[in-house]
Amino acid sequence: MQYQTQNIAKTYWLGALLIFAVQVSFGLVGGLIYIAPNLLPVEYFPFNMVRMIHTNALIVWLLLGFFGAAYYLIPEESEREIWSPKLAYVQFAIFFLGGLSAVVGYLFHIYADNARSYLEQPVWIKLGIIVAALIFLLNISMTVLQGRKTAITNVLLLGLWGIAIFFLFSLYNPANTSEDKMFWWYVVHLWVEGTWELVMASVLAFLMLKITGVDREVIEKWLYIIIATALFSGILGTGHHYYWIGAPGYWQWIGSIFSSLEVVPFFGMMIFCFAMVWKGRRDHPNKAAMIWSLGCSVLAFFGAGVWGFLHTLHGINFYTHGTQVTAAHGHLAFYGAYVCLNLAIMTYAFPYLFNRAPYNQVLNIASFWITSAGVVFMTVSLTFAGALGTHLERVQGMSYMDAQDQIGLFYLLRFGGGVVTVLGALLFISSLLLMPRTKTVVTGAIPAAAE
Amino acid sequence: MSVTTSRLTRAFILLITLSLVLAVAADAHASAFWLVVVVLAAALKTRIVLARYLGLDAAPAALTGFFAVTFLVLALVAGSILVFPTPQQPLRAENHSSSQH
């Protein structure tokens, strides 16, 4: 670790890992309710509440992870300490406690008045989140402005500002249902297929820079091309959520065309990572970080790119809208793009943060394969469930519950995949936290930036 | 930027000529023959713009790539028209009453 304030990332990431564990566990509870609805007392575990914790916790820990990544990589890129470490911890306290109390609130059935998936925080928590976001933006913007400006920090900053700005749409809850849906998508879609992608591209660029030692100039060019194609396709790509919510019919064309092109940046990121590793001269000791990075780009391409394209044309979405196909895509896309991204940068950074040579590599790499296998298996099961369910219900006209009965087997399989996923996640967390006693002096092993 | 003025001017004249061919071809009776003429003339125009206006003469690989895209689009649309032709019988009379010319 070259800068003291990179330590801030520790706090964020430990918080993130905790919520990660909660998130996947509640996924498992949801999966259990699917196959054995009466096993758990429904007063304590109503499905809607379980689902809400699963998805909201996901967003909260991913964001915590992004904050951590920013606090970790900005000092190195800007070549200076974070502007105000104190504010960074205040921000963490607000954000973490806000997220936690929202979850505890759900447990006691205190829900938001205007519940929209992923944004089900009560208003006062939303305001807290905004305060935290403002503190964060102030803090990192000051750091970046005073320090060295690189393409990586510019893109990261753009992405993080975008995340905060689009979150503001969550405060507006129009009475008209169509409008309400639109504003919801302005947050959800423009996050995961816009601003978060910028974060993903810049963090991957940072990782490639450090792990492979390829010249910064080369990496920057890739970064620019990736974000150009991401923004070009992603913004009007929002149209793929306008098909059936009351927007004018021409959105079917706009959405289909632009969102098809959203595959391009994900493809670009995958090619980028492999090209850099191929070209790289450096033999970085942290193999696990490299595997998570490569895995991130590949699984994001499949989850977002391939599974997204699968149902993004309006002629197909007409049938698959809101089925298990959507859930299949949601899982692999979120996992590949953003879960793996966070786990990659954590795997890379933890040894430096704790002043050790890369440790528990075998365990960590095993956790990559186990968790990923679990998620892929869940995705495939849900894809079958979705395709079959769509056919029975929407082509043959079977009633909803009858169709659900027919696809029960796949829910069982999904649960199996879920168990593996949770085990993999716990393995990952232990591989990071169970450190060897000896503090190896790693200063010599820290590769200098290749520039 | 290697295109000289005279090459540029020749490109321009050729483009305008081809546009006239297109206009005439299109006004002729709709048929597979004229469809092919339209596609070829239009494709040739895109190639000239790519090579001379956009200066891709200097980057042959890019010229081939971009031209492949424009040509493919035109060819695929034309192909689909040949596979799904406009039915000839009904409403022929109305069809001819277009009045803009």
Binding site: Y250, A449 | A25, G55, A59, A61, A62, V77, T86, S98
Partner: protein, 193 residues
Amino acid sequence: MNAATTQTADAPAEWGPLSALPGHPLMWVLIASELAVFGLALLGYAGARAQNPLAFALEQDSLNRLAGVANTALLLTSGYFAARANQAAHAGDATRTRLWLAAASALGLGFLVVKGFEYAGEFAAGHDIDSSPFFTLYFLVTGFHALHVVLGLIILGIVGRLATKTAVETGTAFWHMVDLIWLVVFPVFYLMR
């Protein structure tokens, strides 16, 4: 590591295959993206037409073909002027660069005027973006193209002020792309049947 790395773009060799292309390499990323968008839209047109060729043929026949031909000539001439502007910029002649760009822009404006009259006629005949599959695609694609003409005029204005070699090369590349797209859009909507 020095400040040079933070200024992007101008070092040509690092853009790989994009380095060989005139103007800023990212402009070519945009050009490729735009071609993809219009290409997909036109393939979508072919698919939609295949489901009802007769309706498409009738509505296609109601378009003003003469206006389309005139607009093609306007854009091609404008493109020629833009290419001359580029030559002038390379010769370091800012005044002539601006004159050629102004001429190119004037014809671009002419394109919009003609298109405006066309749209007015079509609206008057009761067609709009929701009235039929053909007109949905027609208004979407030509409207989106017209928006690019507007954007192109703004870009030409900006690079005319700068009048530097790279700026003009980049700006006119955008303008030629708008031209190029029209050369594909026009035959598909107006002529091919």
